[in-house]
């Protein structure tokens, strides 16, 4: 069994002078991800590499699964660590590794050696040749193929030597906390948790806002949103979730405005309230799960109308995605099964049979003048009665 994982990270290796900021953030995220995992973990950072050393009674599957939730990790390699004092130590480590990791193999292989530790007495090509020779001798079923090997043994000779041949894919992206924060509009559907995941993947810390409308939406619908936020938080870290009671505003719009414009006007007020909390939380943008043309409120014209009320940038990572592509990601990140639980959400309850699909901003703004009497007070009321919970 391997007691060490080599963590490969891609993009953050090229961040120049900021590199240590990203590496430190990644180490911190790895530590957080491993906190609930059985066992003790020692994370070390040396010359462009991060290692996770495992001690005590630890479960490899659980450990790898936790690491696969850390943005910034491109690959997780279980490595054999052996002393780098002599060729013999290296050879013994290699033979033990092959025996454990590729038992009975008849595949082709290649050995690739890197030697940052120039004190090691042999040169890399010589070590490659010798190790290849010893593997062939001890595992006669295996053959060498230096052009297209089925197994590539990587050997890195540092203060100690690291041997690995497998790379378990990580989620990629950048460590959360390295790119500011943004406010996610979370609805309980399939799209918004995926949108949050995608922005968090670029290193952004996530806050979230949910609009509920009792008695039209139930406590269970609210719980579902909390559950979704919790799944996303496994990737993004803790999420501050604002639960806004939207019923009164919704009913007031219903009373005062043309019915086919209800959804657009409602969404404009949601964006206004989302922006209020975004500014309060020092967020640098708003995230939605919108995708062009998916529903009436997501046509180019509708997006223009909802966008018009925001001063912060609105990020829509799914804008060019088809539903199937979004579903695929939501299954991958584990939000799908929760998203499809059949609870009413507040966008659909009063939806008109024929909502406007090409709203004109000036017309919508004119309709909103019918709300002047009470709406500011209602928005204030909604903001002041908002419940904020920390989901983790």
């Amino acid at each position: 069994m391997y007691h060490t994982y080599l963590i490969k990270y891609g993009e953050i290796g090229i961040k120049g002078n900021n590199r240590h900021v990203f590496e430190d953030a990644l180490v911190k995220r790895i530590k957080e991800a491993l906190t609930p995992v059985d066992g003790e973990f020692n994370i070390t950072k040396e010359r462009g590499r991060i290692y996770v050393h495992c001690e005590g009674d630890w479960d490899p599957d659980e450990t790898v699964e936790a690491l696969q939730h850390v943005f910034g990790i491109v690959g997780i390699c279980p490595v054999e660590v052996c002393p780098a004092d002599s060729y013999e130590s290296l050879r013994d480590g290699m033979l033990a590794y092959v025996k454990n990791e590729h038992p009975g193999s008849d595949e082709t292989f290649k050995v690739k050696v890197r030697r940052p530790n120039k004190d090691f007495p042999m040169k890399s090509p010589d070590v490659e040749a010798e190790l290849g020779h010893d593997i062939l001798e001890n595992f006669p079923a295996m053959t060498v193929d230096v052009h297209h090997p089925q197994i590539l043994f990587d050997v890195e000779i540092r203060d100690v030597a690291y041997i690995y041949s497998k790379i378990i894919p990580g989620p990629g992206g950048m460590p959360v906390g390295t790119n500011g924060r943004a406010m996610l509009c979370l609805s309980g559907g399939i799209d918004s948790p995926v949108a949050g995941y995608m922005i968090a993947k670029r290193g952004v810390t996530i806050d979230a806002v949910y609009f509920h409308a009792p008695p039209y939406t139930s406590e269970r619908a609210r719980q579902k949103v909390v559950d979704l936020a919790r799944i996303v938080s496994r990737y993004s870290g803790p999420i501050r979730l604002h639960v806004v009671n939207f019923t009164d505003i919704q009913l007031y719009i219903y009373d005062q405005c043309p019915h086919e414009e209800l959804t657009i006007i409602m969404r404009r007020y949601m964006m206004r309230i989302a922006e209020h909390f975004a500014k309060e939380d020092n967020d640098l943008g708003i995230i939605t799960g919108e995708s062009i043309g998916q529903v009436a409120s997501q046509t180019m014209q509708s997006l223009l109308c909802t966008n018009a009320v925001c001063t912060l940038p609105v990020y829509r990572p799914l804008i060019g995605f088809d539903k199937e592509e979004i579903v695929r990601i939501s299954k991958k990140i584990g939000t799908f099964e929760t998203s499809i639980l059949p609870y009413e959400d507040c966008c659909t309850i009063f939806v008109a049979k024929h909502p406007v699909t090409r709203p004109i901003l000036s017309v919508i703004e004119r309709s909103e003048t019918h709300l002047t009497e009470k709406i500011d007070q209602m928005v204030e009321e909604a903001i002041s009665t908002t419940e904020t919970i920390l989901v983790q």
Binding site: P214, P215, S218, N245, T247, H259, P342, F350, A352, T385
Partner: protein, 398 residues
């Protein structure tokens, strides 16, 4: 805020109104006490040889006897289970498997609870044939069709006693007679989960071979129930193991639950007639109040033909769940459809069986009472409905 504190006419606040007793009931004080005692003092395993075991076994014996007394049955005919669903599953699957050489046909009704309908679907997959007896718009069983369905190869007939959604009552005595005269080899199972404690049931005299009961519908603990199995009924166990209950239902007995169930059963039949009269009063009062509101349709059988504790009504133009949450904001608790199936969007099995129009199905709410409910609570509920319905009907999708 949308939610407002509930204030009565006299300005005083009223505590919660629980009208969801067909979903579950609040355990009684005596039940709580015995559950606590069997978890703190008499916590032994009834199979143990020592005194602690004997003490625990005494609770089982007492409960078995108490329950048998309510049915005028022999204690050896009572088998404890984890609840109504297990009792139904066992009665259907256990009997079907043990008697398949006699025939492979099972009859049930169109308005069964999923705890009967689903085991039947499972048996269908095993190759059994399942026939469903139709019901009319009140939930009355079509006995003429049943007569024709009772062919030689029928081995098992299963009907509910009281329908869980609309309180319709099945004439079990008539059905039993028909089954036994047409098919001498067939067994008759009754799902009495909504009926036990509301009707005096005499299985042996009536001709019921198996009877399912759930503890938490009669102020007992959840996870308890029993199956009455008439001596001589051939059936297989579903759960194998250490041989408890004569090998018919293995597993260390749930002593606290069973002790609580025994107390609950005895209490259910104490002051029985007065309680039933009270429930019918509540029902009548409720229906009267509902009829005074516009566009309300009450489902099920009128007066004493239907069960005493269930009133099901559709409030046209209002979604069931919206009305449910509105009442909830007034601390009034009811059901929309059958509580076990609220997570499914499919229509209710009973309302589908009685051919209720889509509009009535989408707006149906069940009020179910227990003897502790009061006429004042009914009045308050009617008052809240009158207050809230106009607004709920104004805001709707169109």
């Amino acid at each position: 805020m949308y939610f407002t504190m509930k204030v009565c006419y006299n300005g005083a606040t009223m505590s919660e109104i629980y009208f969801d007793n067909s979903s579950t009931t609040k355990p009684s004080k005596a039940v709580l006490e015995v559950v606590e005692k069997t978890m703190t003092e008499d916590y032994g395993n009834p199979s143990s040889m020592h005194k602690k075991g004997m003490d625990a076994e005494a609770y089982l014996k007492n409960a078995r006897r108490a329950i048998a007394d309510t049915l005028k049955a022999d204690p050896s005919e009572i088998y404890f289970t984890s609840g109504g669903t297990e009792s139904n599953n066992w009665a259907l699957i256990g009997t079907a498997l043990a008697n398949q050489r006699q025939g492979r046909k099972i009859l049930t009704t169109q308005m069964e609870h999923p705890a009967v309908a689903e085991p039947c679907a499972f048996l269908e997959k095993l190759g059994f044939e399942v026939g469903k007896i139709p019901v009319d718009e009140n939930g009355t069983l079509d006995l003429e069709t049943l007569e024709k369905m009772l062919t030689d190869d029928v081995i098992l007939v299963s009907t509910m006693y009281v329908n869980n959604e609309i309180g319709a009552v099945v004439p079990v005595e008539k059905v039993a007679k028909m089954v036994h005269s047409a098919c001498p080899h067939a067994f008759y199972h009754v799902d009495a989960i909504q009926a036990y404690g509301k009707y005096r049931i005499r299985p042996a005299r009536v001709g019921i071979d198996m009877l399912s009961v759930s503890g938490h519908k009669l102020h007992g603990p959840k996870g308890t129930g029993f199956l009455y199995v008439k001596n001589g009924v051939k059936m297989n166990p579903l759960i194998y193991g250490g041989g408890q209950n004569g090998g018919m239902r293995s597993g260390t007995e749930n002593v606290p639950g069973i002790a609580g169930l025994g107390i609950a059963a005895r209490e259910a039949y104490t002051d029985f007639d007065a309680k039933i009269d009270h429930l019918y009063d509540l029902k009548e009062h409720m229906i009267k109040g509902l009829m005074s509101i516009d566009d309300v349709v009450v489902h099920g059988m009128p007066g004493r033909e239907g069960a005493p504790h269930i009133v099901n009504a559709s409030f046209l133009g209002v979604g069931s769940e919206v009305l449910l949450h509105t009442l909830e904001s007034h601390d009034i608790y009811v059901s929309a459809g059958s509580a076990c199936s609220t997570h499914k969007r499919s229509g209710s099995p009973t309302l589908t069986a009685i051919h209720a129009p889509q509009e009535e199905m989408a707006s149906s709410v069940r009020f179910s009472f227990c003897e502790n409910n009061t006429v004042e609570e009914v009045d308050e509920t009617i008052r809240v409905l009158r207050e809230e319905l106009p607004r709920l009907r104004r805001y709707r999708a169109h």
